[in-house]
Amino acid sequence: MISLRNVVKTYNDFQLNISMEIPKGRITGLVGKNGAGKSTTIKLILGLVKPDSGEARVFGTESCKLTVKEKEQIGVCLAETGFSNQLNISDIECILAKMYPEFEKTYFQRKCEELKLPKDKIIKDFSTGMKAKLRVLVAMTHKAKLLIMDEPTAGLDIEARNEILDMLRNYLEEDEERTILISSHISSDLENLCDDIYLIHDGKIILHEDTDVILDQYGILKVNEAQYATLDQTYILKSQKEHYGYACFTNEKKYYQEKYPDIVIEKGGIDELILMMTGGYR
């Protein structure tokens, strides 16, 4: 579905250099700190920005050259921007109906009611949560085969976040060929939703792994100096000095569980992964 091959994009003080392959039917998560390159990656995928070198392709076509018909198959939810905030829901409904031949009017209306989106207010007067829900809804109501979501749950409370995640899960359930790319830095959302995760840092992909592998096989060993000295380093990805000794990040938790039953081992979620791989682990 999506393919980025050695894509390079340079801005003043920042360079992005990545490769990514996202097959059909996947939900892929893109995580990273602010400024790591998530939004740039998404802009490259959508053809909003041209790569300095390398190729960005969607549906096999170069992103900058996507045809109108191909764009009809893509649903987009960007973080800070959407339709003009002077419009209201019925305006948007009519606009979408004219833009997307597959627009599902009744579904859109029904969902607006379910999500309690105000019919007579203009978007400017919506709360943050409502704006976010509307953005997601706009992307999901024209049977797009590919959804690209840049921080769809940012700034939302847990209830709203769960509502949106459930919407995304339902969306995928309806058609197994649908693919979703989500960028976020709310790890718990991704852990419960995505099939695989790309971790981006300073413009580079530093990890790509299936979610359940991250949750099941990655872990953090907490060892003192003595234990560290005799520790089998085979599956240690990174070690960091701590006040108690060392924190060692591994992708073979089971190995160490069996070999060193006395050592403290913590589960590694996406947050720990990020902190460990980008050096900020405490």
């Binding site: 109108v68 606009i95 833009m99």
Partner: protein, 215 residues
């Protein structure tokens, strides 16, 4: 494009109160002023209003989202030009009607046929203004383009001033007399061609501006 029209017309209609005010103003002016003012004022208003939809698109990185919809930059530019031309033309028709109605009520005698060239002459001016304003707004955004337009008009004023000084009023009068002798039809056709050319160049520039926009 239909979606874009839908969006822009709905945005314009949001400002119902302002539109009604302008219309009321127009009607009042139409009846109180000596006719031709309204022939310039209303179409100009129509043009400004339709072009203002660009600033709605631009705000809050709106272009970024817009370009992810199933349209391309050419379609976006085309729609803007069509919207502006239609808006201007409709206001012009309205102005013409008002003009003749007010003349009728003031019972000034008029031969409609004679007035036609004068009435029509407002259109090329509007199209020319549009040809300058659209690419300027697309490139510099609503705020900066005001300054740019100011500069352009300033430069035009200075140039015409210098032109007069250098060439001398005498020679200008000579040229004007010569112009008057040229067949009206020839003038008409050349004006139309010039305006079409200007509009075409403006369109191409606008497309380039949008294509190279950093989103």
């Amino acid at each position: 494009m239909a979606g874009l029209f839908e969006k822009d017309i709905r945005l314009l209609l949001r400002r119902k109160q302002m539109l009604v005010l302008f219309l009321a103003l127009a009607v009042v002016l139409g009846f109180t002023q000596e006719g031709t003012f309204i022939l310039g004022y209303l179409p100009f208003l129509g043009m400004i209003l339709t072009i203002s939809t660009i600033s709605y698109d631009e705000i809050d990185n709106g272009y970024t989202f817009l370009m992810t919809l199933p349209i391309d930059t050419k379609t976006y530019v085309k729609e803007k030009y069509l919207l502006c031309l239609s808006g201007t033309f409709i206001s012009w028709i309205f102005a013409v009607v008002l003009y003749f109605v007010s003349k009728y009520f003031r019972e000034s005698s008029t031969v409609i046929a004679n007035e036609i060239p004068m009435i029509i002459s407002f259109l090329p001016v509007m199209v020319l203004a549009m040809a300058i304003m659209i690419p300027t707004q697309l490139k510099f955004g609503a705020e900066k383009s005001r300054i740019v337009l100011f500069i352009i008009f300033g430069i035009t004023a200075i140039l015409s001033f210098l032109f007069e000084k250098v060439i001398g009023t005498e020679r200008i009068n000579h040229m004007l007399i010569k112009l008057e002798n040229i067949n009206d039809a020839v003038i008409g056709v050349s004006v139309v061609l010039f305006v079409i050319l200007a509009a075409a160049i403006s369109y191409v520039i606008s497309c380039k501006v949008m294509q190279n926009k950093e989103l």
